[in-house]
């Protein structure tokens, strides 16, 4: 893929550069991975022992205590369920609706095509801002509901353009012949467009789902009561408590049997629970999201 590499003269300078580059990249990989590794060993180390520091590459007093404590809290299971539900509902509904809109706006014979595109493209450049949106959701009764997680993201102008440009690259005759056979547009969308658009749908699905999994501020803003807390918010609450370590330590005394726990170790275990699912999954979807970005770049 990268043409030039075989043409370099293997001069001494070039070789030295190769080695330096290699070492630099190893160092780079270390900087990227180590913070996660550090958190992992802290999460498997006895909390009180962690406070003595000097924990570099391996847990000193190995324990499952931290995870036991974290999983025993019912909130966590509930938070995980809500997180997963949010990801699935929001991603599927958004892709279905945005894809349908993209399809409709690529039908050349459709009179409203340009109008719809412009109406949506305008929203890419102008938006309401935090306060008007907040006030609107209050008025619509979206506060403290699960709906607020998926309904405001049902259509997306940028994704509409991406899917649209993909559909425009498909042979027109497929939809046209189905139309002449009397198929409804929804049927064409289901039977022809969606199966053909799998690559672009997969790329966008990864991005949308990751966005929803990692989102926390909208939970704070629109679901402050804690009824629909996601995993991220759950972690953030522990994060805030860590700021007031003294206060929490007093609370910790209630858990007499778990006197080895500290806020740091509980936080580490929770962080791992929140981030590991995604860290395991993302390498397998690489080709999709790299593809997605490249489509966007060509388009933009």
């Amino acid at each position: 893929m990268f043409g030039p590499k075989t043409f370099y003269k293997k001069s001494l300078g070039s070789k030295v550069f190769d080695w330096l580059n290699f070492i630099f990249m190893l160092l780079f990989a270390f900087i990227m991975i180590y913070p996660f590794w550090n958190q992992l060993i802290v999460s498997f180390n006895e909390g009180v022992d962690t406070m003595y520091g000097n924990l570099y590459f391996w847990p000193r007093k190995f324990t499952f205590e931290n995870y036991q404590y974290v999983f025993q809290r019912q909130n966590l299971a509930k938070g995980a369920l809500i997180s997963v539900l949010r990801c699935v509902v929001a991603t599927v509904s958004s892709l279905f609706c945005t894809g349908l809109l993209a399809y409709v706006t690529t039908i050349k014979a459709f009179k409203g095509r340009k109008f719809m595109r412009i109406i949506f493209i305008i929203t890419m450049y102008f938006s309401g801002g935090l306060i008007p949106t907040y006030l609107l959701y209050t008025k619509l009764g979206l506060m403290e509901t699960f709906t607020v997680y998926w309904l405001p993201g049902l259509f997306g102008a940028y994704n509409m353009l991406l899917i649209g440009s993909y559909i425009a690259g498909l042979p027109e005759s497929l939809a046209e012949s189905a139309r002449i056979d009397g198929a409804s547009e929804l049927k064409i969308y289901f039977k022809i467009i969606i199966p053909l658009c799998k690559p672009v749908f997969a790329a966008l699905a990864v991005m949308i789902a990751v966005g929803h999994w990692n989102s926390w501020f909208d939970v704070l803003l629109y679901n402050s009561s804690g009824k629909w807390d996601t995993l991220q918010v759950y972690l953030r609450k522990i994060l805030l408590q860590a700021e007031q370590a003294a206060k929490l330590q007093a609370e910790q005394k209630m858990y007499e049997a778990m006197k080895n726990l500290t806020t740091t170790s509980i936080r580490a275990a929770t962080t791992m629970v929140v981030s590991l699912p995604i860290l395991f999954v993302y390498p397998f979807f690489q080709k999709y999201f790299v593809g997605g970005i490249t489509i966007g770049a060509v388009k933009g």
Binding site: K5, I33, I131, R236
Partner: protein, 319 residues
């Protein structure tokens, strides 16, 4: 069957008259119905909040509407400039976003150029996969990692103590003078691999024959990177830079809320966190909307100017 044919003929006639449009409401009613749903959604969730910005010009309290609120003109806009905090907020916003737009902007470019020089395909793929790992975790997770690494019993303090560089643990996250550096590092750590993807694909798009020609002309490795690869991705760089300039007043939001605390407030408070604090938490809706609106207008103007300048000097433009 005959009717269908009739329909396609009508559409192919392509006379954009009003009559045709009216007819299409009936003939293409299924498409229009789908669009109706999308239209209702976009009006409610995009256009209503857009016009909801009217409260910046009125003295608004919840429950009121535009009819029974008093028009105050630009009162809230000028109030922002008379605040004692305004200098500090502007300074923080500009400092953090300037760091992002210089160092934070250059790092992914340098990284993608260096990555391009790696010869081993597997190693290259491994490095790239690792590079965007942090993009996939939330800022909450990044904040948690930083708390652990930089905390008083964290590893950084361990090393500093061992090397004798410091006598007692430094509470890095409570030091106002370290905040800009910390947040810039965090931004780079989290975003560089992801930002590099677009440059890497641009580098892959550079014509291979140019490199052959370069070899013939006696260009070395560095020469090729400088004279062929870099100019080859210059367009991408300029476009992204113009976009970045438009966001100069958006210096980040989640990371400030998570990493900042009362001790570092003097260096972390940026426009966005300020709007949140004053608008949502204290209920000064009109004032916070005015500040937010001013920010967007300024960003929009900056993009237009940057676009003009770029057109003039490099004949590259965004629109």
């Amino acid at each position: 069957m005959f009717k269908k044919k009739d329909q396609t003929q009508k559409i192919n006639a392509k006379k954009n008259t009003f009559k045709d449009l009216l007819k299409s409401f009936w003939i293409q009613k299924e498409l229009w119905l789908i669009c109706l749903v999308a239209l209702v959604w976009v009006i409610v969730f995009c256009y209503v909040p857009m016009f909801g910005n009217w409260i910046a010009f009125f003295s608004y309290t919840p429950g009121k509407n535009i009819g029974n609120s008093t028009f105050v003109g630009l009162k809230y806009f000028s109030r922002f400039f008379s605040l004692p905090d305004v200098k500090q907020i502007m300074r923080n916003t500009l400092a953090i976003s300037t760091l992002n737009l210089t160092i934070g902007f250059a790092v992914p470019i340098v990284f993608s150029l260096l990555l391009n020089e790696l010869r081993n395909g597997y190693f290259k793929r491994f490095i790239q996969t690792v590079s965007y790992m942090p993009h996939f975790v939330s800022w909450v997770v990044v904040a948690s990692l930083m708390f652990t690494l930089l905390g008083s019993d964290g590893i950084l303090n361990d090393i500093l103590l061992k090397l004798g560089l410091t006598k007692e643990a430094i509470p890095f996250l409570n030091k106002p003078n370290l905040f800009w550096g910390l947040i810039t590092s965090a931004n780079i750590w989290k975003g560089m691999g992801w930002s590099a993807i677009i440059y890497i694909s641009a580098i892959a798009g550079v014509d291979g024959e140019l490199y052959d020609a370069g070899s013939v002309d006696g260009l070395g490795r560095f020469g090729k990177a400088w004279h062929i690869t870099l100019p080859g991705i210059a367009n991408t760089i300029i476009l992204l830079f113009i976009l970045g300039i438009g966001n100069i007043l958006s210096a980040g939001f989640e990371q400030q809320l998570l990493l900042g605390n009362t001790m570092t407030q003097e260096t972390y408070e940026v426009i966005d966190t300020y709007v949140y604090r004053y608008g949502v938490q204290m209920g000064n809706y009109s004032f916070a909307t005015a500040v937010g609106l001013m920010k967007s207008a300024f960003g929009f103007a900056l993009v237009l100017i940057a676009n003009k300048l770029s057109k003039k000097f490099t004949d590259m433009q965004l629109f």
